[in-house]
């Protein structure tokens, strides 16, 4: 005896399942495309901002208009926040991506890295011009698969940025972009071999450092200790 078998239903269910997944994949690709376009747009905006800042810096340095330093500093910090957000966003998008747009993502991330390096140099220059008392941190990190503590370190840095605000500038560089000569030079100069490694105004700190330790190091770098450092001392 052969029992009833809903052969047609098995096939129909299979076809519908495939259809659902095809639609899902297409929507996923659509979102990915949107993300790429978004990042590209933000990237272009960022480039314009950098150009504008460079121009402002030139103005200050050529005509010795130190009185405009505060205004430039403000623009700088706003840009810095945006820069960091976009970097995080690109990394997240890249993590989620299907792999189809791998090349594009890689190029974009690299482009962004260059933008950050340029911005960092610009910051250093403006600071020199204006003589502002600011601590700069270079955060050399790696992808989370290689460096488990990098995420935690970024969290601590975010937290400290929240406290010190415009008195602390953080630049994060993913060391995987070995094709970027300037990054290579930095890695060589600072002899970066571990992740995460922080360069706090020239001082190298390897491995994960917690809030208190890092805060003390940062505070020691200011010429005149900001209020936040003193407050923390009291605590």
């Amino acid at each position: 005896m052969v029992r009833e078998l809903q052969t047609r239903r098995y096939i129909l269910a299979g076809v519908l399942t495939i259809l659902i997944f095809v639609v899902g994949l297409l929507v996923g690709l659509l979102i990915e495309n949107e993300r790429l376009q978004y990042v590209q747009r933000v990237s272009n905006e960022q480039r314009i901002e950098t150009n504008s800042l460079e121009l402002q810096n030139l103005y200050v340095s050529l005509l010795s208009r130190e009185g405009n330093c505060d205004a430039i500093s403000n623009v700088l910090s706003v840009n810095l926040v945006n820069l960091e957000r976009t970097r995080e966003r690109i990394e997240n998008f890249n993590k989620d991506s299907s792999g189809i747009n791998r090349e594009e993502f890689h190029l974009l991330t690299r482009e962004y890295l260059i933008e950050q390096l340029r911005f960092w140099l610009l910051t250093e220059e403006i600071n020199k011009q204006c003589g502002t008392d600011i601590v700069t941190i270079l955060n050399f990190y790696a992808d989370s698969e290689i460096c488990k503590d990098c995420n935690a370190q970024a969290f601590v840095l975010d937290y400290l940025k929240n406290i010190l605000k415009q008195k602390l500038y953080i630049f994060s560089f993913n060391t995987k972009f070995t094709e970027e000569p300037l990054l290579q030079i930095l890695i060589q100069n600072y002899d970066i071999s571990k992740h995460p490694t922080l360069i706090v105004s020239g001082e190298k700190i390897e491995n994960l450092v917690s809030r208190g330790e890092l805060f003390d190091i940062i505070c020691s770098k200011y010429e005149t200790k900001p209020l936040e450092c003193l407050k923390e001392d009291e605590l």
């Binding site: 009833e4 269910a13 299979g14 399942t17 997944f21 996923g28 998008f93 299907s98 929240n162």
Partner: protein
């Protein structure tokens, strides 16, 4: 394209999950075939077997519900098998036998040997054309037999099953099981459309006695002997029919521990039975039962565990990372709250997770609504039910899935003894 191992597993879980759902949704919209009904002009003789082991709390109520059945006493035979109870079960039944001399109640006392052995003894003694099992913690409605018997119209109908409900669910765990049973029987009704039902539960399943006898009765030592018999019926191409218009109430485990014990036995028993009946798996000869039902029962535990792992990975893991990070800043929430990072972008959301969540929750809600409609019951009775509905939809699955961890461990470690 780099596909990680976990991604492949994830993809398989998604595909299989969606496939099963689509298949059963197609079955849901399919029309039900009408089967031939048996006329009740000449009521057949029915034997009801009640195996009891330490059931002093419920046996009296169970027996009373059977005595009150709307069925002529001359056609009814009630066999209570006291399976070596150490409590007052024997005394209580003897009292009832004395009080109801006209009701044809037989008490058989035997040494403890398990439910299957008790039922086999009853099967031998039974004189009825139909053989009914009734767990001693379950209570039938008066109309039960007259609702169930007409479905034996076709010669190859082996067993007809009533709708099971939890007896007066009071605590939260019982309420959750109440919803689980309603959804479960909705699903069983769907299975019935394809003659795929894989278990005839202990409370008031009506069997054609000659069929059960021919198949050799109950397998002693089996963890879920009722399921083993159903597998055997399916193996011999008998029909298993689920009806929803008479209700049998059964006591449900009241604590997590007893629920775990019950589910451990059920699910482990199911796995062992599938192993014993593995010849039916993907066997064209056994129709949809072999092609979709057995494989999905077999995979249910694996799918539950994978789904659990997936949810834990996407929720608990990030929460753990967050806690670890918070520890690094000495849990200084104030600074975080004072400087909230409002940085949301429409493109930031993980749409895969969002779509999966919407998909599964709307399906659960749909199943809950359709199931309640099918058994003519309202989802909300009292205010407190909102909580249990919510817990059932979003939490209960994880309780069961967590139990599967222990069950899987038992199966793997017990393999040497049994297989």
């Amino acid at each position: 394209m780099i596909l990680k191992f976990t991604n492949i597993i994830l993809f398989i879980v998604y595909i299989m999950g969606v496939y099963f759902i689509v298949f059963w949704l197609l079955t849901l919209v399919d029309k039900e075939k009408t089967s031939r009904k048996m006329s009740l002009k000449n009521l057949p003789k029915v034997s009801i077997a009640i195996p009891a082991y330490n059931e002093e709390e419920t046996i009296v109520e169970t027996l009373k519900s059977v005595i009150n059945l709307d069925y002529p006493k001359s056609k009814l035979e009630i066999i209570v098998i006291n399976d070596g109870s150490k409590d007052d079960t024997r005394k209580l039944v003897e009292n009832i036998v004395k009080q109801n001399t006209g009701d044809n109640i037989i008490l058989i006392n035997k040494e403890n040997g398990g439910k299957a052995s008790a039922l086999n003894i009853a099967l031998k003694r039974a004189k009825g054309e139909f053989f009914v099992t009734l767990d001693a913690d379950s209570f039938v409605r008066e109309d039960a037999l007259k609702k169930l018997l007409p479905h034996f119209g076709d010669k190859n109908v082996g067993v007809v099953l009533p709708l099971l409900k939890i007896h007066s669910p009071k605590n939260i765990l019982e309420r959750l099981q109440h919803y689980e049973y309603i959804i479960g029987f909705f699903y069983k009704k769907l299975m019935g459309k394809l003659n795929c039902i894989h278990v005839a539960p202990g409370p008031f399943s009506v069997y054609r006695k000659e069929v059960v006898t021919k198949l050799g009765g109950y397998k002693v030592g089996n963890l879920t002997e009722d399921q083993e018999l159903t597998f055997n019926l399916q193996k011999h191409h008998y029909k298993v029919i689920q009806i929803l218009d008479t209700i049998v109430h059964t006591k449900a485990p009241r604590t997590i521990k007893s629920l775990y014990k019950q589910r451990n036995r059920w699910y482990k028993g199911a796995m062992y039975n599938i192993w014993d009946y593995r010849k039916l798996l993907f066997n064209r000869e056994y129709g949809d039962f072999g092609m979709i039902q057995l494989p999905s029962v077999m995979l249910s535990g694996v799918l539950a565990l994978l789904a659990l792992a997936l949810v834990l990975y996407t929720s608990i893991y990030p929460a753990g990372v967050w806690l670890y990070n918070l520890r690094l800043i000495n849990f200084d929430f104030i600074t975080l709250i004072q400087n909230p990072v409002i940085n949301l972008h429409l493109l930031d959301f993980d749409y895969m997770i969002i779509v999966t969540m919407i998909f599964t929750s709307s399906l659960s809600i749909l199943a809950l609504i359709l199931a309640h409609k099918m058994v003519n019951e309202k989802i909300f009775h009292k205010k407190t039910n909102i909580v249990s509905v919510f817990l059932f939809l979003f939490v209960y699955f994880f309780v069961i899935a967590f139990m599967w961890i222990g069950i899987a461990f038992d199966i793997i470690s017990g393999r040497k003894q049994r297989w």
